[in-house]
């Protein structure tokens, strides 16, 4: 039941309420799969279908990367976000949560704050490209959810990221 709920959170955000039972909240908390590897979110359909979340994730590119301790968007990041903005404008049924992350070379609290800065930088850029602000949320995972687990720069570079995770439907 728990894992079914977790999936449902992404497929139909409205199910969230049905899945969480307030009386038993401690033991049955539905948690959006936090920063899971790939962060597919509402991914479905085929990569060949340009309207599918899989296409968004793989062809458009769901993530941008940052330098150490930076939240500045470089040219590559802006290009990816241009693609994301275009896709989101063409697919108005989707909302998105932008997850900000940091590498492990930092203290825990600071990295939460830094991840929020990165997520917000991506969000502000998408808004500047015409995506409605109420479709875009942010969350920071700090250094808690690395995708790469080696302790060298090649891995750190992939962990310093902002990932745009799609969800179906405007939930207000």
């Amino acid at each position: 039941m728990k894992s079914a709920c977790r999936l449902a959170v992404f497929l139909v955000a409205g199910l969230l309420a049905a899945c969480s039972n307030k009386d038993d909240a401690l033991n049955d908390i539905t948690t959006p799969a936090p920063g899971s590897v790939g962060a597919i979110g509402g991914a479905g359909g085929s990569a060949a279908d340009p309207r599918s979340p899989v296409y968004f994730q793989q062809a458009v590119g769901d993530r941008v990367f940052f330098l150490v301790d930076e939240s500045t968007l470089n040219d590559a990041a802006r290009q990816t976000l241009n693609g994301q903005a275009t896709w989101l404008i063409q697919n108005p049924d989707y909302t998105a949560t932008i997850e900000g992350h940091a590498d492990e070379q930092g203290t825990r609290e600071y990295n939460v704050a830094l991840g929020e800065r990165r997520a917000n930088a991506a969000r502000e850029y998408l808004i500047s490209r015409g995506v409605a602000a109420n479709r875009l949320r942010t969350v920071s995972y700090g250094k808690e959810r690395p995708v790469e687990i080696c302790s060298v720069e090649a891995c750190y570079a992939k962990n310093r990221r902002a990932v745009t995770v799609l969800a179906a439907g405007l939930t207000g």
């Binding site: 401690l26 908390i29 539905t30 936090p34 825990r108 917000n120 969350v139």
Partner: protein, 450 residues
């Protein structure tokens, strides 16, 4: 004797009858309040003081198990400081079979036991009565007067810690700290699928209890000044928010912070009525305080930089925090109500996670420099910086209740990287891991239990 309580039942926290302490009448030897038996911690002790603690004399067969267990925990507490060294029972010449009989000092001198702790334990139903005395062997006198503690069998370890605390305090002149707990984050799973849940245990790793399940990511729990509540950050709503949990009841509520914001890095004020924390919104993190009774929020910083990791001074008048307003993370102190902040850190590298010592004299911090992490301390004006540790990743110091020991998180590097708790004393000696069944991070030491 360690028990891992796998449920959320807070039995060990609530069912204890607190030890009753009463002085015993003086024995046949002369009582010496200020005996020559003394460890000055600030002196940079090199040779630990040898001591002996024979099994406490059981007053019945049923009490024998406790007689041994009490002595073992007392020995572990004292040896664990690095200031004392136990002379094992196998080397003892005398056996203590009568707590009231005169001590054969010559036998203890022969094995070079400078301090001797003797005790008795009586069991009546689930009620334990523990008596003990501390001797300066070479002077042939008692150090202070004997004491008696009464408690339940369930609280036997606490009684052992109380005895060891008395020995530690009388010999070092420092405030005690063994009868304390640590709340922390228990970790399992690989780095890219780490599961975290809140746990609480005795300071030495015994009596672990879990306070949450691992469905939601949790970070950085902090005890209230009386140890009955814990603040922590959880992602159970999808974004980081601050919760306050009643440890005895394992009930929690969310702190109602700004709608649409993320909140984290909470700590109690010294009177337990206010929480100071960080709130992130729109790409900016600032420090706020909240009155727990009214929910009223006050903004304490207002800068485009990251302000986080606030910690009150013990008198509640000031807050030390970290900010990257100058470019990298540095430490600052401001009035508790907000206002102008002065920077106190000045060395090379980045400084974060400051924590004010309970004695008020020092601030512990995490330092990053040249790709290494350190736990260090400095005076509150930023002078006298000393680094106590160095590793791939050390962070998040917490103070023992007496301000003499620091516990922190050490994470090893690489794909098999794992977090573990360590402790070190403020002179940088006695660095050692704190035993936990799984990975562990973000320790926060409780005040001394009442």
């Amino acid at each position: 004797m360690r028990r891992a309580v796998q449920s959320f039942l807070p039995a060990a926290l609530t069912a204890l009858i607190l030890p009753i302490m009463m002085a015993l009448t003086a024995p046949t030897t002369v009582s010496a309040q200020q005996g020559p038996l003394r460890i000055e911690i600030t002196d940079g002790v090199i040779e630990p003081m040898p001591f002996a603690v024979p099994d406490f004399v059981p007053q019945s067969e049923a009490a024998a198990e406790y007689g041994t267990s009490l002595a073992r925990v007392i020995a572990s507490d004292l040896s664990g400081t690095g200031l004392f060294r136990e002379i094992p029972a196998s080397a003892h010449i005398s056996t203590v079979s009568d707590f009231g009989a005169p001590v054969q000092f010559a036998d203890w001198k022969t094995i070079n036991a400078q301090a001797l702790i003797t005790g008795s334990v009586a069991l009546s139903g689930d009620r334990l009565t523990v008596q003990f005395r501390i001797y300066d062997v070479f002077s042939g006198v008692e150090v202070g007067s004997g004491l008696q503690f009464v408690g339940t069998t369930e609280g036997w370890r606490r009684m052992a810690h109380k005895v060891a605390d008395t020995v530690y305090s009388r010999i070092t002149g420092e405030a005690p700290y063994f009868d304390s707990r640590v709340v922390f984050v228990s970790e399992s799973g690989p780095k890219n699928d780490r599961r975290k849940r809140l746990a609480v245990m005795d300071y030495d790793g015994a009596n672990i209890q879990y306070l949450t399940d691992s469905n939601a990511l949790v970070l950085a729990p902090r005890f209230s000044p009386t140890g009955d509540r814990v603040l922590y950050t959880s992602y159970e709503s999808g974004v980081p928010r601050i919760y306050v949990m009643d440890v005895g009841q394992v009930q929690r509520r969310v702190l109602e912070t700004q709608e649409g914001s993320m909140s984290f890095a909470p700590r109690f004020s010294p009177n337990g009525r206010t929480v100071v924390f960080s709130q992130a919104q729109g790409g900016n993190t600032d420090i706020f305080s909240m009155d727990l009774a009214t929910g009223a929020r006050t903004r304490l910083t207002n800068a485009p930089s990251i302000e986080t990791a606030p910690s009150y001074s013990p008198d509640g008048s000031q807050i030390v925090f970290e900010s990257d307003r100058s470019g990298g993370q540095q430490l600052y102190i401001m009035p508790a109500g907000g206002g102008e902040a002065r920077r106190i850190s000045s060395g090379a590298g980045r400084y974060g996670t400051p924590v004010w010592s309970p004695r008020g004299d020092l601030i512990a911090f995490t330092k990053q420099n040249n790709g290494r992490f350190h736990i260090g301390v400095m005076r509150t004006d930023g002078t006298g910086e000393r680094l106590l540790t160095a590793s791939f990743l050390d962070e998040g110091p917490t103070w023992s209740p007496n301000g003499r020991v620091i516990m922190f998180t050490r994470e090893s590097q690489g794909t098999e990287g794992r977090a573990q708790l360590y402790s070190v004393d403020i002179s940088g000696r006695n660095l050692k891991p704190v035993p936990t069944p799984d990975g562990a991070s973000d320790p926060a030491w409780s005040p001394l239990q009442q």
